[in-house]
Symmetry: D2
Subunit: 345 residues, 4 copies
Amino acid sequence: MKAGIIGANGYSGVELIRFLSNHPFVQIEMLISHSTSGKNIKDLYPHLSDVCEKTLENVDIDEIAERTDLLFFAVPSGVSQSLVPQFLKKGLTCIDLSGDFRLKDPDKYTKWYQKPPAHQGYLQQAVYGLPEFYQEQIKNAKLIANPGCYPTAALLGILPAVKMGLVNFETLIIDGKSGVSGAGRGVSLGSHFCEVNENVKAYKIGVHQHTPEIEQTIQDISGEQININFTPHLIPMTRGIMCTIYAGLKKPLTTEEVVEQYKQFYESSYFARVREAGDWPATKEVYGSNYCDIGIVSDERTNRVMIISVIDNVIKGASGQAIQNMNLIYGWEEWTGLTLTPVFP
Amino acid sequence: MKAGIIGANGYSGVELIRFLSNHPFVQIEMLISHSTSGKNIKDLYPHLSDVCEKTLENVDIDEIAERTDLLFFAVPSGVSQSLVPQFLKKGLTCIDLSGDFRLKDPDKYTKWYQKPPAHQGYLQQAVYGLPEFYQEQIKNAKLIANPGCYPTAALLGILPAVKMGLVNFETLIIDGKSGVSGAGRGVSLGSHFCEVNENVKAYKIGVHQHTPEIEQTIQDISGEQININFTPHLIPMTRGIMCTIYAGLKKPLTTEEVVEQYKQFYESSYFARVREAGDWPATKEVYGSNYCDIGIVSDERTNRVMIISVIDNVIKGASGQAIQNMNLIYGWEEWTGLTLTPVFP
Amino acid sequence: MKAGIIGANGYSGVELIRFLSNHPFVQIEMLISHSTSGKNIKDLYPHLSDVCEKTLENVDIDEIAERTDLLFFAVPSGVSQSLVPQFLKKGLTCIDLSGDFRLKDPDKYTKWYQKPPAHQGYLQQAVYGLPEFYQEQIKNAKLIANPGCYPTAALLGILPAVKMGLVNFETLIIDGKSGVSGAGRGVSLGSHFCEVNENVKAYKIGVHQHTPEIEQTIQDISGEQININFTPHLIPMTRGIMCTIYAGLKKPLTTEEVVEQYKQFYESSYFARVREAGDWPATKEVYGSNYCDIGIVSDERTNRVMIISVIDNVIKGASGQAIQNMNLIYGWEEWTGLTLTPVFP
Amino acid sequence: MKAGIIGANGYSGVELIRFLSNHPFVQIEMLISHSTSGKNIKDLYPHLSDVCEKTLENVDIDEIAERTDLLFFAVPSGVSQSLVPQFLKKGLTCIDLSGDFRLKDPDKYTKWYQKPPAHQGYLQQAVYGLPEFYQEQIKNAKLIANPGCYPTAALLGILPAVKMGLVNFETLIIDGKSGVSGAGRGVSLGSHFCEVNENVKAYKIGVHQHTPEIEQTIQDISGEQININFTPHLIPMTRGIMCTIYAGLKKPLTTEEVVEQYKQFYESSYFARVREAGDWPATKEVYGSNYCDIGIVSDERTNRVMIISVIDNVIKGASGQAIQNMNLIYGWEEWTGLTLTPVFP
């Protein structure tokens, strides 16, 4: 199987290179980048010396279609919506890490992304690539809308409770904390070391584009319309996302009861690890891995459940999940090439 | 005016030294520490060379009472409850930075601190030292219960809305993010660099001792009983606390309307700065200062208001606020010795 | 006395604002910036809310000359060389924080800065603003070339040994470690959080423009020509510079002997603090202050002395030293407005 | 092949678990720890959930000898010297990550480690496990003295120049910069987040125990007696070591010439990567991998060469190198189980 990476020069791109370099069934055929074509990837990322020393190539549809079977789009939103259809027509499998095909309702895309949406047909065709909940659909997909980093953490944390009918949706609040790599390698004052280090800041309060993605998936699972509050914060670290989720319980449950139900729910999910009552995960405990760790507290004083969900945003929140989706599409074990133990400390 | 600092060898202690060294009306007479008496403070904290080179002294009640007018207690909880009464009897003014005199209900202290409480009489006598709300009581106090770091940020953020009747209390959720200095200089795995750096973790979910302190003060202002959720998180930074506060609005208000009401509310408060609509404070923007900065978003989709409140936990959350209380007690301008511009970047 | 700051929107600029806002004898009259004129400084730096809310103004020579007595140039190299002469002619005192007037030899400027130099006459007129060594010249200066951050740390560390004739110059090696703020607020991949955090990198090895500045001053003090090795490193922190200096001893001396000579040497220098034998300063111990702390080890195995010198690069390495120079020019105590205790932790 | 890890509860221990869990030819049979026996490793390190959930066992010589073929000692210095001989007698292969068997001269151990040394016979038997220079000896070893973290970086940087006769030894200076994980998981003020973060400090100047280890190996390769200066610094990061090496050239060579010689020298070394002239490695570019990256500058002004050498201290500086040694002993490819791409960003 020959793979190409469009946007190979970004953080998600080089992480795809890392995983594919160690994957037993796939070979990296092309690294593609509009802005840095002609350069060797190791000159942009010296850590790849001896690992992958390919030259970045330009976006040539015909050549890409000829040389590759499978494409990863590690690009900003607004880019893949015009490229993906051309490759689908030529029979390639497309895994899009951007937000372009995630929202089924094009008006919501326009509202939250402030850009024109992809064509409706492709939006319908795209499968939301959250394997723990859409495994069967993913297996038959040609176009994967790989979930956003925050939605991955938030949904893996709350969806079991939603599906099992434990919580009231109108009470749902998600407080997100993310490392800086989520914003990519592009330079801006917001990612300047001196402005981020020894600092916490909230951003895009009430208007973050991951809000409708979370809502849409909860609605898809529950059948009910909901509005949530999602507040993202920037944390002085490179990798990692934590979502702290607050939800009112429909009926009182102890922490132990909720933990037990979550453990059963995720029993056959390789990458979801549920902590025992009294233990909550920290982001570093999944650093460098595809795991999502979940901790739970039920507070009888307020009859709310608090769920802590952590991932490595570049892996389970982007490139690792993309590989997981690829594995499912091609019928391989979902953990193939992804059995990386977290790097600790 | 001659001041002594009990627990001068901790982070709050040295920060008191920094402020008092530059205060025009007060002189540091004694640095007191049980565990490090006999050592020079500059050997424990070389940054104090040439600034303050006093030798730490033991806890000798009579001598302290003779040499000082005013005592700061920068000690862990459980310590000042037995010391303060002895000094009050000798006429000294006591400002306690620990939690010992904050909760009026001794049973709540026992429950949340897991320790025996102070005597009821002193609990009643103690004035809660949040100057923006209890200025008049503070002016006449002999014993100040200096607020906790999280409660300071949380209460300055939410109390205006409480007092103006804007929000439903039962919906109140406070998501706290703190730097590591809040845990003090004592060594533990939880403050080991390698365990904190590049990491976020939640802790004491549902059982943090600052919860009843926040609830008690909201109840005191509003007259209503409430239970809140408060979830503290440890952030890989040294200083700074952010509280992200979620509360349901009683009736719809725009962000601009809430901002305007907050600006009016804090008009005469020197250290509370309210941001314009669309702008939210980051912790670094108050670093090294006694300011509390507040940003507000009203979300019409959920009819909730989100309030971002930030302080430097060692200053407005501890030593700076203690100085502010001292200024009020002695009739000086509340900002005396505290007009420090935040250190940025 | 009315001061203007050209380049007020950079990190050195805002730090000048912080110091001047608390200075008893000087008033900030104008904040000047070509690129951000028309904006309010508090919109660029919210931490300055209520502290300094001036609007940035354009570079209008006549107006500036009319309204101010004293100008600070907090600009990149290559800018002040054309501006300073115009203001000198109009009688203003100029303190230049850039490298434009530091090197007496214009050819060296051209070689190391890769830019055309300032006019020879102004290079000769400029006084190198290292108060611990050029105090008398500074008192009579109209144009100060404020030292670079690395040279300040390196020279305060090595010059006593040079002046007292303790070391062989040809053996001199300076290994520099700097926080990221030294590179300013401009965005670049080199200051992107994810590229700096959890990382150390060397840069400009053998070609850093501070090399000839260090050499020139050692030569000025010693009368001998020398070439040194200076290797700068970028450290994942915002503020602070450490220079680790290696020099061969002319004749054997114990650590205690060298420490004693340094202590005597700096006895009357307010901002130089020499540590006892066996104790070496860390950068955080001068954070937020104008101190330079120095530690010394003499190694009899190699007959070399190692000198550790630390400063806050934005203060003693830039804006604080500029204020110190201003104080000397106007006959005030050199520490006026600069008696800030380091912020620790 | 069945392996045991003594000291499995430390940072080097868990990193050995990570590597061995993915090694095709070795199985972890026992995790051994005196202080934490009886606990499950996943309770000490939750990131190991589902990866390795063994219970830590006590040090029982007979049982260990019965169940394992190979032992890793990830213990502080002073511990393995009494354990290793007992296991060697029972025929086990021992790889010691501590300093106990590195110095051939027991007096030097006593002087620099301030402890009694191992028995002379074992010191002679031990093979210094730096595979790039002692590969043949390692292949036949029963006892490996795995190099220290600083010596690994320093020696891989300077030994080619030593072996090729390019430099004068008496001029050798090594300025080391290390992340905090090198000090292990034990708690101390020196590894407290608030004391390390936003800080650089030098330590053990002139007395660090890695000094004689570096000297001994250079002497072994060159046949000459030397004394060096080695100055370690603590950097606010978790992983990574950089050594900046300064050495006088015997005869002038350009940067390109030295780079070319190094490239040839390391041509067949899998884990040593030499950068092109003008490019120098940063520690993050080897983070999470077993690589050592080397950059070189020759400065004609001073006739010195500067060599930048970086490793991940926990991997190439400890556990990864131990695995590499194990691979050589058992005749496997040296990179077996170690082909980890650096984690970037």
